[in-house]
Symmetry: D2
Subunit: 164 residues, 4 copies
DNA sequence: TTTT
DNA sequence: TTTT
């Protein structure tokens, strides 16, 4: 049962960082991935893919990525459903990232020490090997069952829903 | 802009084969991909992922796969939206398969010529290199904008929506 | 820096299981992955890809897979070089598997309890979430620097070479 | 038989462009993909992966990428063997790219028309949908059987070896 | 509800 | 609306 997704695209807006009641960080963001082909109007369209990332990489995402950032994601597809505010079941498909790759060059302000402009810094420590562990943040925010929808209902995600 | 999905799972029901007005085949099916980890109740859950495949491989899927079949998919993630019957916009995420891999052993009836039971036949010709071309079937069926939902509205997909 | 490989193919021979001096299991095997296209002689060729897997999944591979088994691999590409027996540097490219998926149906002997023959059992516990930990086996075998070549030189791999 | 590789890394040197006797372009390059983990000395190592790309994308690679460029590759693993100059069989594992993604921002010289510096241009037309066709260049160069080794032997690759 |  |  193989389930693997790899994406490179741009954040459509700043990522959102939240915490479970137990203080585990979770970040959500949407990647716009431009298609390589064009439609019959000759326009290049994009797919807009919701992504979730947990624990330490979540905080890195929140700290280093913002709207427009180019990023790579290596993860798996997840489907969930939840009760919408109108009582209808809503089905969600999203990517749970194992690792997120920062693909922007260092910003010009950080680049000051650099001679030939335009090279990339080392990726920030986003890999799956960064011994992710639960942060003990007081949890300043709760997460809805659908972290992408602000439907009002705020059923908590328990820490047991963590994918690892 | 990389967009790649690889899945191995089982069909949750028989695939559905349809044709665009121009006679291009499109098959849809859902893969149940069991997770490798268990939830806090110790149950192994699954993700249910909608897949679409076009042209010749679509017909192969319809002919060779059925509910319960083990299959591999190599494709890309696509997001779409359409107008639901209640006027609300419905967002869809699905996998558009470039190739579908048949992972079942030949059935016992086909296995008759075989000595040591249980080996797999060569995969049927599903690859992206099977020079896919538009079939000229009269098109016995039309395809809704959301091929997974039978919402009633039957806005046709034009052949130009084909991903290749 | 994304590095992801997904394969489905058949073992070309029985896997080999070894142990580092510290008792960490490592299994090696080669997957034959048939190409989807044919060469100009109309023959379907295959790629023969060396794979390595560590710890618990290594022992599962050794116990459940054998020559001819259909298996899926999700891992990363690794390149190494070592000193060949003639003093020349040998360059190696192989796949380090994060998880190995057993894609064979249960063998006929195990299938006895089964009504309609030919379905697959649940995959054996191969996932990356099976809390891999170092076995403390006495280590009946050592591993060469190139686990695929038996060139004679037996420079040990230290446990620190483990990819996680 | 699934065979899929996705990489993001940097070119270790300028790509090399050659032509088969029939004038089909083929480019080769090596990607350095930094590992996300460090070895016991605390150093981050890299894997150096040979890549091949054919036809139009080959020419794009040669025109737009150079030593140090950040690039993404979506392709498949290929193994080959050839007769080395000392008569020994040499085994090669490389990635045949279906598409190559240009991940560098436009260089400052090209950026002149740009207001807020540092954004990326649209990827150059590298996708698998760019209707690749054989160029009819006079073929200023021939390709060895191992395009990465300049071992002297120059057995030609026929156009029939093209992967599509 | 979309990025460059 | 889910497979083994």
């Amino acid at each position: 049962m193989i389930n693997r997704v790899i994406l490179v695209g741009r954040l459509t807006r700043d990522p959102e960082l939240r915490y479970t009641p137990n203080g585990v960080a979770v970040a959500t963001f949407t990647l716009a991935v431009n298609r390589t082909f064009t439609n019959q109007q000759g326009e290049r369209e994009a797919d807009f893919i919701n992504c979730v990332v947990w624990r330490r990489p979540a905080e890195n995402v929140a700290n280093f990525l913002k709207k427009g950032s180019l990023a790579g994601v290596d993860g798996r597809l997840q489907t969930r459903s939840y009760e919408g505010q109108d009582g209808r079941r809503v089905y969600v498909t999203e990517v749970v990232a194992d690792s997120v790759q920062f693909l922007e060059p260092k910003s010009s302000s950080e680049q000051r020490g650099t001679t030939a402009g335009g090279y990339y810094g080392d990726p920030f420590p986003f890999g799956p090997n960064q011994n992710p562990r639960s942060t003990n943040d007081p949890g300043f925010s709760r997460i809805d069952e659908d972290p992408f929808a602000n439907d009002g209902q705020t059923i908590d995600i328990s820490d047991d829903d963590l994918p690892f």
